[in-house]
């Protein structure tokens, strides 16, 4: 049985603003689903609707087959980790973790067993008598997770749990969250705006844009076959190069000398896309298109070259090339680029949807 089912779920606020028109999503038991999108895309709203902190305007929400639309948050058997952790400042770590069990009338001895088991798993044994104020950011994060885990809920909900941590800790906690989730096998819904976090954590990703799901799929599906220009730009860093182009008589006009057959394309104006890492630098006389270097970002392991393409019709669209290793380029230098056709992505310029080959 599917664990968490969102059927035609929508949210309209009382002032008439439609935050989420309609979303369908079926989550299997033990799956790690990441909701990702820019701020204001409705990802947090959706998570809070699942938690019961926001009302559901339309559709059905099923947890393990039960319709929970109108159930209180406490009765949905979910646990949530908040962005600011939301630890109770006047309680010790132990009491923070025990609070949910106490409210549910669990016996004291059982609470103690459960809390100490979780504390051991998270390495919190030494901190049980401390107050949240006396903990570091990473420790607070861990307590917040412990509070969620101790109740052994059907679904974990994470609302940008790592965004208050520094970069190093964020990577460490990311790995830890993934491991814990695998070990516990609890179905998880995780909200983030960080695409690296999304790619590394998710079994499946839901890319949200203005309240609707642009694409739902595994990280690699999204990377290799983005369903729209929005997903193409959102997944991958630096994001995919997109160049407005035309198709005339079944041929793509990239305003350069190369013309490629694309008889399947019926749209006239298209977006031509290629990822910065799929572009090759080659001698000018063998290249598809000349590229003028504007700025170079050397990161050691790779070099990002920002510049513009010099297209035949005089257009100079911005373009990024990502080269492995360290290379030296001068600003103003002209390089030749080859754009391997197997790395192309074509999108309808009107609908922004992917045109399948």
């Amino acid at each position: 049985m599917s664990d968490l089912v969102l059927q035609n779920i929508g949210k309209t606020y009382s002032n008439g603003y439609q935050a989420i028109p309609s979303i369908d999503l079926t989550i299997e038991e033990g799956e790690f689903i990441v909701l990702v999108g820019p701020s204001g895309c409705g990802k947090s709203t959706l998570l809070r609707m699942v938690a019961g902190l926001e009302g559901i305007s339309q559709g059905e929400l099923l947890i393990k087959g039960d319709q929970v639309n109108n159930k209180e948050p406490a009765d949905r058997d979910i646990a949530m980790v908040f962005q600011n952790y939301a630890l109770y400042p006047h309680m010790t770590v132990y009491d923070n973790m025990a609070y949910g069990l106490k409210n549910r009338g669990v016996a004291k001895a059982e609470i103690a067993t459960k809390v100490s088991a979780v504390a051991q798993m998270l390495g919190l044994e030494e901190l049980l008598t401390r107050r949240p104020k006396q903990l570091s950011g990473g420790q607070r994060q861990r307590v917040a997770m412990g509070r969620a885990m101790v109740r052994d809920p059907k679904v974990f909900l994470f609302d940008e749990p790592l965004s208050n941590l520094d970069a190093k800790l964020r990577v460490q906690m990311r790995v830890e969250i993934r491991e814990l989730q695998r070990k516990l096998g609890t179905t998880t819904l995780y909200v983030t705006h960080d695409q690296v976090e999304a790619m590394t954590l998710a079994d499946r990703l839901v890319v949200l844009n203005k309240g609707h799901a642009e694409q739902i799929g595994t990280p690699m599906e999204l990377y290799l076959r983005p369903a729209s220009t929005f997903v193409a730009e959102f997944i991958g860093s630096p994001s995919m190069n997109l160049i407005p182009s035309r198709v005339e008589q079944g041929k793509l006009q990239l305003s350069v000398d190369i013309q490629l057959d694309c008889p399947h394309v019926s749209a006239q104006s298209v977006m031509f896309g290629i990822r910065p890492e799929h572009v090759d630098i080659s001698p000018l006389d063998q290249a598809d298109v000349p590229f003028i270097v504007k700025a170079v970002e050397a990161l050691g392991a790779e070099t990002l070259v920002h510049g513009v393409l010099q297209l035949g019709d005089g257009n100079t669209p911005a373009f990024i090339v990502r080269v492995a290793g360290h290379h030296h380029f001068e600003g103003g230098e002209t390089l030749g680029l080859t754009l391997p056709s197997q790395a192309w992505h074509l999108f309808d310029a009107q609908t922004t949807k992917r045109i399948e080959a």
């Binding site: 019961g52 949530m80 600011n84 109770y88 006047h90 949910g100």
Partner: protein, 291 residues
């Protein structure tokens, strides 16, 4: 924050106006009161005689003084408790309002702008036994209201008048305190299975405790020392001594009874109490209740 002044005299010059005000309106009269507490003066101020601690001895052996101490305690703790409880309730309600929140909040703050004597007169009119609407309404339901005769009713009246003014002040602090509690804490508690009343007593109330403690001291100080106007405008300390608080007794003995020595001695006692309360305030409130 500390600021360094190159010239030595500038900081003193800047402080001078406040120091002058303190000296002229507080230190000098306070000094006079302390001096006077050791003298017996005739009603016209023509002659006086040094009596040592006699004024204090007489004070502490007078049952009337202890009666007024008890009255003050009853009055102050009633005002503080009632003021805090009602203000907290109003703040919780106002915090929930979404539409027109500013209107409610502004209206609830208004009573603070009313002068104490006016507040007293207002309640005095409302509760006047022969024409006050509240008193007449109470009569109609069979409760005979006459605070000129009934001491307990007089006490209730001054407590209501004094509390009413203080509620606005408390309300402001409680509302600010409530709004400082992150929403996510209450949401987390809701997910943790705490119902509305558990959330209030288990999360909100403990988190408000620094505010509550601060307001408790402020309200006690207010009820002790700042309610002369309210009492004078409503009951004048009567009937009998039933609403004569310590501050009111200072005024009454000094300016009505013209026993200036005893009045001065009572002032000195009050000064000691103020000093104690200030110490408590600095000790515990400046440090705050820490989490």
């Amino acid at each position: 924050m500390s600021v360094y002044f190159p010239q030595k005299y500038l900081p003193y010059l800047l402080l001078l106006p406040q120091l002058l005000v303190t000296a002229v309106f507080f230190l000098w009269p306070a000094g006079q009161a302390v001096e006077q507490a050791f003298y017996q003066e005739d009603a016209f101020g023509l002659s006086r005689e040094f009596v040592g601690l006699d004024n204090f001895i007489e004070l502490f052996t007078s049952p009337e003084y202890f009666a007024s101490l008890l009255t003050t305690m009853v009055f102050s703790f009633s005002v503080a408790f009632l003021g805090l409880a009602v203000a907290l309730w109003l703040a919780v309600m106002a915090d929930r309002v979404i539409r027109g929140a500013m209107v409610y909040q502004t209206l609830l703050i208004w009573p603070y702008a009313v002068a104490p004597a006016l507040a007293g007169v207002l309640w005095w009119i409302l509760f006047d036994p022969s024409m006050g609407p509240v008193a007449l309404a109470l009569d109609a339901i069979g409760l005979d209201w006459n605070h000129f005769v009934n001491g307990d009713q007089a006490m209730i009246l001054v407590v209501i008048s004094a509390t009413w003014k203080q509620i606005s002040y408390n309300f402001l602090f409680f509302l600010a305190g409530l709004q400082a509690i992150p929403r996510s804490l209450l949401e987390a508690a809701a997910i943790d299975g705490a119902g509305p009343s558990k959330r209030f007593w288990g999360i909100v109330f403990p988190l408000l405790s620094p505010t509550t403690f601060f307001l408790l001291v402020v309200n006690l100080v207010y009820a002790f020392f700042d309610t002369f106007g309210v009492i004078d405008a409503t009951t004048q300390g009567g009937p009998g001594q039933s609403t004569t608080t310590m501050v009111y007794k200072v005024f009454n003995d000094g300016f009505v009874g013209l026993d200036l020595g005893s009045s001065a001695a009572q002032s000195v006692v009050l000064m000691v109490i103020v000093a104690l309360m200030t110490v408590i305030q600095f000790r515990y409130i400046e440090r705050k209740v820490q989490y």
